[in-house]
């Protein structure tokens, strides 16, 4: 069979878009022996998970009406060559307990990936002296007791709250199911101050105010956080992939698919039309495809290629508008709007990346509570997360770092305010605060419908819109396994390991091959 023939094949699956879910599916299906045609309309991999160099980011910003800003203050210019940067649209972390990490290891795909530690979580506090503006979130009971800013009574209360949330105390927390995280922590027997509440809230990675986070969900998140500490080494709960985290994950899954020889990849490929339940052409019926089904999906590509497939997998926004199949899809119910920014700053932020174990961590999370920043006499209505990626990630040159800022709703100007406020508090070794060398701000929406509820029938698998924020959600995997099960008929074979050929260690050039 000629692998390069797009038209003379009935593909088991055509996958449109190379985001994370699509790429995992491509790897899983091809490993199960399914033939996959994987398309992307962009000239790059990753869709909403991609990572871009500086000039690619500028192009992306233009195409997506993003606010691309190069401050006019660089004398001498401090930005390195455009390709020295890998600016990620999916910088999110993975908890060490994430099923996605387990999958990577079990499938052997982690061999060509490198994960780095996310060190500390920090709370930004505008109401204190300069040295205390950033307080680390305790990682353990020892941390709590070593915290100079807490008096002994507060320490006892924090530990009690923590124990009870982690289920280590006999008492039941069942009464709190209808309450918020804030209500729980402010109950009369704890009565914790707002900065402690911020610390707990920061561990949920949610962009809602503590009073809006259901206690039950916060409890699950916080347990997950502490349960993740120590799994791959002491002192850290989460990791990021080198070179842009989510964007690198996408690439390794696509490579894993390509390596099987069962996938064909075509970038810059646009679909013009999709029809379902169309009888296969006569050549297919006559030739090698004696299959129980006689109807399938017919796709027309802009290139003129006419494609036949048994299954189609895509997010709605990667499919062409204005055609009946796409127009008849249910619209998402509620969308949350987020402001995001990617900033290159001339400060390595090493003080945020120090951990109990050398060397420096690659990332850190800074949580700015609601009402902590002021912009034109307005306060920020929602908490803001700054996810710091140091140069260890390979995303920027030494001496700089990349800040990924995210917040719900609100005024986008808080994004820069947040970064500048952080820079003012974290001086580098020379006492310099550094500055923003480049920022790109953009808006994005997240469907509130759970990821798992994909819109599927027997052959069309339409994925809900999904924007990676500060965490790569575990739910991506559930949805992927569901679709895999539909197509392969069993979930048991999902992403079975394939042996990598590994040579015996070779010595240097003295070795002669005969």
């Amino acid at each position: 069979m000629n692998i390069e023939s797009l038209n003379q094949t009935i593909w088991d699956a055509v996958i449109v878009g190379t985001g994370l879910r699509e790429s995992i599916l491509a790897a899983a299906l091809t490993r199960a022996g399914k033939r996959v045609l994987h398309l992307d309309r962009n000239p790059y991999y990753g869709s909403e998970y991609t990572a871009l160099s500086l000039d690619e980011l500028e192009t992306w910003a233009r195409l997506h009406q993003a606010d691309f800003h190069l401050p006019d203050l660089q004398d001498p210019p401090m930005l390195a060559k455009p390709r020295s940067y890998t600016l990620s649209l999916s910088p999110g972390l993975l908890y060490t307990t994430s099923p996605l990490l387990s999958l990577l290891v079990a499938s052997g795909i982690h061999e060509s990936l490198e994960f780095l530690r996310v060190g500390g979580w920090f709370i930004y506090r505008p109401d204190t002296g300069a040295d205390e503006t950033l307080t680390p979130v305790p990682n353990s009971r020892e941390d709590v007791f070593n915290d100079q800013s807490l008096d002994p009574r507060a320490k006892r209360l924090v530990v009690r709250a923590l124990k009870s949330i982690l289920g280590l105390e006999g008492g039941s927390v069942a009464d709190w199911t209808q309450k918020s995280l804030q209500e729980y922590l402010e109950q009369s027997s704890l009565h914790l101050p707002s900065r402690i509440i911020s610390a707990f809230a920061s561990l949920t990675l949610r962009h809602d105010r503590p009073g809006e986070i259901p206690f039950e969900e916060a409890e699950r998140d916080i347990r997950n956080h502490f349960g993740s500490i120590g799994r791959f080494g002491p002192g850290f709960a989460a990791v990021i992939g080198r070179y842009g985290s989510g964007s690198e994950l996408v690439q390794v899954f696509c490579r894993a698919a390509a390596v099987t020889g069962n996938a064909v990849y075509v970038l810059e490929s646009d679909i013009m039309n999709i029809e379902n339940n169309i009888p296969y052409p006569s050549w297919a019926v006559e030739k090698q495809f004696k299959h129980e089904d006689s109807i399938g999906i017919h796709l027309q590509l802009r290139s003129g290629d006419s494609i036949w497939a048994r299954h189609l997998i895509a997010t709605a926004d990667n499919l062409p508008g204005g055609i009946p199949i796409v127009e008849s899809l249910p619209k998402p119910l509620v969308e949350d709007r987020y402001w995001l920014s990617v900033c290159i700053v001339s400060n390595p932020l090493q003080n945020l990346l120090r951990t109990s174990e050398p060397p420096l961590a690659a990332g850190a999370v800074v949580y700015i509570p609601a009402n902590a920043l002021k912009e034109d006499s307005y306060l920020n209505t929602h908490p803001i997360y700054i996810f710091v990626h140091g140069s260890e990630t390979g995303e920027c040159p030494d001496g700089q770092s990349i800040l990924y800022v995210s917040m719900k709703g609100d005024n986008k100007r808080f994004l820069d305010t947040a970064v500048n406020s952080l820079l003012n508090k974290v001086r580098d070794n020379n006492g310099s605060t550094g500055q923003i060398l480049l920022s790109m701000k953009f808006e994005n929406t997240v469907e509130s419908r759970p990821l798992k509820e994909a819109n599927r029938d027997s052959s069309l698998h339409i994925l809900g819109k999904h924007t990676p924020l500060i965490e790569i959600p575990d739910a991506v995997l559930d949805q992927v396994i569901d679709i895999y099960g539909d197509i392969v008929g069993s979930r048991d074979t999902f992403m079975e390991k394939v042996e990598v050929e590994e040579g015996e260690p070779r010595d240097n050039k003295d070795t002669i091959f005969e």
Binding site: K81, F226, C254, E357, A361, D507, N508, K509
Partner: protein, 251 residues
């Protein structure tokens, strides 16, 4: 690190590019398994292999992505050379057009790949030539008789003369202009194959290695890590995941 004592270990991502049938997979097969297959089937999609290379002062673990030369859509290569620290661009020195294709790959790498990427230009199938055009001395130990014999595997059994179409001088001159490492190899005899990889390992800038875990930045005391430390600096060894959660307990 299971062997090699305390030498620092770094991973180096390497991608092979070049026209179909120039011998990319055969070079890798020779390097990794010290083996050679006549009439090897074309690579479909790509292949991933690893190979450790012990240098005097460190161990390099090559993560090798061997791509399909016949890929029609040119959509695969970007996924392999992205973040690669090194590339091996291969041509067949008995086929002039394959050098043209190699030059295209070099240009694309220079345009799209990481700024510090180490590129080696490799003319393969040296065994099909009868002489090495003026560089006999420096090529060292080339077996002319073996080369002449293997020429008989071609379509034309009678053809006794040199099948070389690309002179050493031409390719070498181009490589020097572009700042590439340059070797002529034979995957069949093994000639110069390990030399290419060793030269690449030596040419990777210290700074690139440092960010992937060079000397002096090893994981301080994070004991119990068996096998590769994948990088070393901040690299997290997922396979060494103790299921124990000994210091996870907050209270």
């Amino acid at each position: 690190m299971s062997e090699g004592g305390p030498k620092p270990s770094s991973s180096v991502k390497l991608v092979l590019l070049g026209e179909a049938a120039v011998g990319k997979s055969s070079l890798v097969l020779r390097f990794v398994n010290d083996d050679f297959q006549e009439n090897k089937e074309p690579t479909i999609g790509a292949a991933f292999l690893t190979q450790k290379c012990n240098l005097p002062n460190r161990t390099i673990k090559f993560e090798i992505w061997d791509t399909a030369g016949q890929e029609r859509f040119a959509s695969l290569a970007p996924m392999y050379y992205r973040n690669a620290q090194s590339a091996l661009v291969v041509y067949d020195l008995t086929k002039a057009s394959s050098l043209t294709k190699a030059k295209h790959w070099v240009a694309e790498l220079q345009r799209q790949a990481s700024p510090g990427i180490v590129i080696a230009l490799v003319g393969n199938k040296l065994d099909l030539t009868t002489q090495s055009t003026g560089l006999e001395g420096s090529m060292g130990g080339l077996s002319l008789s073996a080369a002449a014999n293997s020429g008989a595997d071609g379509d034309d059994d009678e053809e006794e003369e040199d099948a070389r179409q690309v002179t050493t001088a031409e390719a070498k001159g181009y490589a020097e202009e572009e700042g590439l490492l340059f070797y002529e190899t034979s995957a069949k005899t093994g000639h110069n194959v390990s030399e290419v990889f060793t030269a690449i390992a030596n040419a990777i800038p210290e700074s690139t290695l440092k960010t992937r875990g060079g000397p002096g930045t090893g994981r301080g005391g994070a004991g119990g890590s068996s096998g590769d430390t994948f990088g070393g600096t901040g690299g997290v060894n997922l396979s060494a995941a103790g299921e124990t959660n000994k210091d996870a307990c907050a209270c």
